[in-house]
Symmetry: C2
Subunit: 126 residues, 2 copies
């Protein structure tokens, strides 16, 4: 399995909300933006994302694989129920990008470095 | 020259503020986050960044090269003079990441997709 196939399978797992399978892709001691949240915390973060954004769906716009790194530009077109990143969205439809790096060791994601284009969301609700 | 060497030379050009040399790395018809700003607009954007942030310095934290894409996680540790991304920084020192994708065609950057981790800055000034 190439790094690209691995990543596409991971994103498919998220979109199916198949939390029992998440550990196939994410290491037990995963870190997210420097915080050691572990697999259990990573799963809870994703479950809360889908609660807050019922129509959440991950689309890979760009993908750069350079072992052990994966870099993805993810595009979202969705309707957060209430606040999102501290912004009052309240069910409005917004589009935004997340540029995210993953470090993969031993066939699992061990480190995630994410940046969401919040300024683009602010422009849409201004 | 590898894509990594090309990118390191581009970042060095920015840090030297060598605007006469920018066209060696950036195409005349470059786009930034979907906007066709051209090389002249790209140069003006960077000159304004250095005016607003006198101690601006680009550090490559992570780099994934997968032709024709470059993905970089850039780290900044700097002191914007006034507002930055709409936040009142007023000379305080902040640290933040920019995750950015570049598409390279014909030895020049033709497309840039940037996302700055604004939430991290908000946490620092809260």
């Amino acid at each position: 399995m190439t790094l690209q196939e691995f990543y596409e399978a991971y994103i498919d797992c998220l979109n199916r909300q198949d939390w029992d399978e998440l550990g196939r892709y994410v290491a037990e001691d995963v870190k997210h933006n420097g915080r050691p949240i572990r697999l259990s915390g990573y799963r809870l973060m994703l479950i809360k994302d889908f609660e807050d954004i019922p129509d959440l769906y991950f689309v890979i716009d760009r993908l750069a694989c350079d072992p052990p790194l994966i870099a993805a530009r993810l595009m979202f077109d969705c309707s957060p129920k209430g606040d999102f990143l501290g912004l009052p969205i309240n069910g409005r439809r917004i589009s935004f990008a997340e540029n995210v790096f993953y470090e993969v060791t031993g066939d699992r994601i061990v480190d995630v470095f994410s940046a969401i284009d919040k300024a683009a969301i602010e422009n849409q609700i201004a």
